[in-house]
Symmetry: C2
Subunit: 321 residues, 2 copies
DNA sequence: CAATAAACTCGAAACGATACGAGTTGGGTG
DNA sequence: CACCCAACTCGTATCGTTTCGAGTTTATTG
């Protein structure tokens, strides 16, 4: 059987309450502190968070729910969230709902039964709100990378539309007219926003052409295939703007294969992980989302909400590097 | 305040024990079942897993501890682990120790204090065993992707050495002699094993040359840089064997830049995600680890251990496609 | 229909930690 | 050196659920 606070009490001759107090940072006599520390070391005590949670109504865990784990965006943000929350004593329970609405709803329930103190979620759909049940129960929720019309939850997003417009304008400024966009499915909030930004810039320049917008499925293969298609459909293409990291990689490989020298035969603007694209493509633009910042802000916002703070929306600035 | 089993008792006129029994699948009188269900619906009861865990000593959560979250290997396996465990009613708490020994040890403690029922860990070091404390405490542990000399824990690995030898032999069989290896740091178990496999094949052929072994740091940039270095140091290189996915991507980009046509100017054997490399490189070999299988076996093994099964070691077969 | 077995239900005691109000200690004053 | 106040320590109730042995109800049978 595990070592409990009672065993420490027996070992030290102190009361449970004193041990508990010490463990929670309340000052105790110095010689008692020593006794407790020794006992902990000797018996190998590890606190039972469940017993604690039962009493305090706090579990010390946060649910993180994402549509897919296998991409740079998710993993970078989760890594940051994990680190940030960990500093605050929280662990994260991660659920990957595989872009499935039913699974998403079930995951929320699952996480709630695990008594999570809060939820960070990148929702599959922005209108059917799987997180409503959490809101009803009073569990704080932070939505990342999507905007919904709920004011009960916090939102952390980037300036998708604007940065996408700017990136497109920069390509236009280089004198290009035939600019292809490789983005995701229009049901995905960010894909849609980025497409709108591109469209705004292109329309303003008078060059907008719907057939130059491609769906790269947000993955490496899709980016690769879409890039091939770009040139098959429009050999006159002068520039390509790709709106996420995985597709950027796929696109670069395809361009190389096509014998198109980036920066020379074709202008190229990629997305995310500028430290990598910089190494690969010194002379090109890359839209860099502040991924770590998103994770950090999401975590901090959630902690604040748990401590009684109000829901709030934060828009972070991506930049072109 | 949350709805408890007591509220259900009050509402139905039954005893807590009866409600609890019903909730756990023990048969109750049909009219009582109806009363309980109605009360649950009316009051919106959600079970408090913490109170339950306190009593049962089972938390329904598993700790997953990895050195790094941001790579295909980890995320693919975690996705599978999550799915498998979820089917068994478990959630996973993920910790990323950032390849840091101290952080790894602290994470184990953290997870244990979260009362995890078991641990799946990809250890940073195979000799300083951070998981020992879990073993001592009696918490089942499954080690993946690494071999240790502990027989108290289960191990799930692939045939690294053998598959690496075979892959090298296949390149040799194509008539190549100058074969570069891009792998990771020799402190990493898999990097070392794969290097040994390569070395065995090369020595047998009489072509082994230590200076043709490169450390690509297991990341995209590293694979890119290492590949450039390969040709800088050995312009006569006829083939490259890269031992993980991220470096494979980096290497492909570098080769394209160098103007080396894969399959023509240079033979190439990549690693992992054959479905992607197949799209990018139809004519080349790829070593494909059964990633999903690793996750599945790890999860199943852990569940078995939790239910009293003995620790066991499983070696899965990677294949060359 | 009484007896007996089977099927359910019950109350209270845990599980391991924290909260709380009350009791104890110790060092600084006058 | 008695006295006080601040600083610490204590015992006990409690969180919400499960467990357990014992009590009660229902079903079965001759």
């Amino acid at each position: 059987m595990a070592v409990t606070i009672k065993d420490l009490a027996k070992e030290t001759g102190l009361a449970c309450a004193t041990i508990s107090a010490y463990l929670n940072g309340v000052p105790v006599r110095n010689y008692n502190k020593v006794k407790i520390e020794n006992a902990i070391g000797k018996l190998g005590y590890i606190r039972n968070d469940y017993a604690r949670g039962l009493k305090t109504h706090r579990s010390g865990t946060i649910g993180v729910l994402i549509p897919e784990l296998s991409n740079v965006f998710s993993t970078t943000i989760i890594t940051e969230i994990e680190e940030r929350l960990r500093e605050n004593g929280y662990g994260i329970i991660v659920c990957d709902c595989r872009t499935d609405l039913a699974r998403e709803a079930e995951s929320v329930r699952f996480l709630l039964s695990k008594m999570v103190d809060g939820l960070i979620i990148m929702p599959v759909s922005t209108d059917k709100k799987a997180f409503d049940i959490a809101v009803t129960k009073g569990t704080p929720v932070v939505v990342i990378d999507r905007m919904t019309d709920s004011d009960k939850v916090s939102h952390v997003v980037i300036n998708n539309r604007e940065i996408s417009r700017k990136a497109t304008e920069r390509i236009l400024a280089k004198g290009c007219r035939y600019i292809a966009l490789i983005t995701g499915d229009m049901t995905v909030y960010t894909a849609k926003e980025r497409k709108i930004g591109y469209e705004e810039a292109m329309r303003k320049a008078g060059y907008y052409d719907e057939t130059r917008v491609f769906n790269g499925g947000l993955c490496v293969e899709g980016g690769y295939a879409a890039t091939k298609e770009v040139f098959r459909n429009h050999p006159d293409t002068e520039a390509i703007f790709v709106t996420n990291y995985e597709m950027t990689i796929g696109s670069i490989i395809a361009l190389n294969e096509e014998g198109k020298k980036i920066g020379k035969d074709v202008e190229f603007t990629g997305f995310d992980r500028v430290e990598i694209t910089r190494a690969l493509l010194p002379a090109t633009d890359t839209v860099n989302q502040p991924l770590e910042e998103i994770g950090k802000v999401a975590a901090d916002t959630l902690v604040d909400m748990i401590n009684g703070g109000k829901a709030r929306n934060v828009t972070l600035e991506a930049e072109i590097l």
